[in-house]
């Protein structure tokens, strides 16, 4: 942190940028700010009732799994990046990411309170605390968050942001592709969009850090990245089977995992690992990720979103003049 080096406390000056990316990402994150309370959920109540009990159970479990990851990222992950920040503005961006993760974590509770009984909610949370694969993925990333290598911390963080969430994100997209739980899907899409910017930014800062390292160290970190990805992947496959075998969706989810693992690597500046044959996403899931603008999803239909609070005006010399 800048403070410790200079032994004086320094206020952050946003009029003097060392890396313009910090302001760019700050602006985008703040203008994308949203709250679950603003997303209507009531339409899903009827839809929820059409799911079989087992489908409801798996959905709740997937969501407590996501809640756990967002909780970790909000209270440990994003904050653990602050001491390693290269600029004071970067520190500020991490505080924004951290807060938004807490919003994400809370939004699953909004979904639960709309759809489920207190008893069911408590059981699902208990499941998340007892599921060995979910606990293992938490344990692996937490190990690096608490470790002493700033670059490894960023790798673990990017893999969480851009890979580990997707076994859970799959299910609301699957329901949405069958015209079920569409309000829930709207909310999850907001989270998915945020995660893209988080993964991009942390991955970018990782690459900036790598530039300052020796060739040998870069090789070490690269090998570590692929090893960690594979370690998480092995566990993720087991988690996926545990969660989805009963619904017969495991194979489809795996494709989605491969696809997102490749994107996580790209966010870190590395080449994709999984070949195209196994990383092609079911087209129904892909179109659920980008629902048609003229359906009832007003969020994606225009630039003025009803959920978004802050908005930036483009200055006039950046405007089209034809």
């Amino acid at each position: 942190m800048a403070e410790t080096k200079h032994k004086i406390a320094r206020p952050v000056n946003w009029n003097k940028l060392e890396d313009p990316m910090d302001l760019e990402v700050w602006n985008r994150l703040t203008s994308n700010f949203w709250l679950p309370e603003k997303v209507p959920m009531a339409n899903d109540i009827q839809s929820w009732a059409t799911l079989r009990p087992e489908e409801q159970l798996v959905t709740m479990r997937a969501f407590t799994g996501l809640t756990l990851l967002d909780t970790i990222q909000g209270t440990v992950g994003a904050i653990s990046l602050i001491p390693d920040a290269l600029t004071m503005h970067e520190e500020a961006v991490y505080t924004n990411i951290s807060f938004m993760e807490s919003v994400h974590a809370k939004s699953y509770s909004s979904i639960f309170s709309t759809l489920c009984s207190t008893d069911e909610i408590e059981q699902a949370f208990r499941w998340s605390e007892e599921n060995p694969y979910l606990q293992k993925k938490a344990e692996i990333v937490l190990g690096y968050y608490r470790g002493d290598d700033p670059l490894k911390r960023k790798v673990a963080s990017t893999l969480l942001e851009s890979f580990l969430f997707y076994s859970g994100f799959y299910l609301p997209m699957y329901w949405s592709s069958r015209a079920k739980l569409t309000n829930t899907a709207d909310l999850i899409r907001l989270i998915i969009r945020d995660e893209a910017i988080h993964g991009y930014y942390i991955g970018y800062k990782f690459q900036k850090g790598m530039e300052q390292e020796t060739e040998a160290r870069r090789e070490e970190i690269k090998a570590y990245t692929y090893d960690l990805l594979l370690e998480l992947y092995d566990n993720e496959i087991k988690y996926t089977a545990d969660l989805y075998d009963g619904l017969g969706l495991t194979e489809d989810v795996k494709h989605f995992l491969h696809y997102n693992a490749n994107k996580a690597l790209m966010n870190l500046g590395f080449d994709p690992l999984f070949p195209r044959e196994v990383s092609q996403v079911n087209p129904a899931i892909l179109s659920a990720l980008s629902p048609n603008a003229d359906e009832n999803h007003d969020f994606f239909s225009g630039s003025g979103s009803s959920y978004v609070i802050g908005k930036h005006e483009a200055t006039s010399d950046d405007d089209w003049d034809f």
């Binding site: 990316m21 760019e24 899409r189 910017i197 690459q207 790209m266 994709p272 930036h312 010399d317």
Partner: protein, 133 residues
């Protein structure tokens, strides 16, 4: 083959994709203080999307400034967009906007650094476009 003009922010995802293409290329500068790029041969534009869901800022301002030059508009023959499907309906939106405003086809969309498959497809499509002109 047409040349390529592209924009890539300091994250340089698009730059790394362009490097893999092996086609003559020119970069639109990131900083307004740098010499602006002027194209004098027909080219295909590669543009990453930056709106984060907002149409007004989907096309990077550097690309808007570049296309505000009549000469650059005269030589554009097609557009390729980069993005991330996490942005839903706004996936590669910048490509749609440029295609519409410049009346050129959007020939391909890809994510982040692009895959070997994207490289292959872009080669094929650039060739088709070349043969049509």
């Amino acid at each position: 083959m047409f040349e390529i003009a592209y924009f890539s922010n300091v994250s340089e995802n698009t730059k790394r994709f362009v490097d893999k293409l092996g086609v003559q290329h020119h970069r639109i500068p990131v900083m307004a203080s740098e010499t602006p790029l002027m194209m004098s041969e027909p080219y295909v534009l590669i543009v990453p999307t930056y709106g984060g869901g907002d149409d007004a800022t989907s096309v990077p301002k550097q690309v808007i400034r570049f296309l505000n030059q009549q000469q650059n508009r005269d030589f554009i023959r097609g557009v390729i967009a980069a993005g991330n499907t996490n942005f839903g309906d706004k996936y590669c939106r910048a490509g749609e906007i440029v295609a519409m405003k410049c009346h050129v086809p959007l020939i391909h969309r890809f994510e982040l650094l692009g895959t070997p498959y994207d490289v292959e497809v872009v080669h094929k499509k650039m060739e088709t476009l070349w043969n049509q002109h």
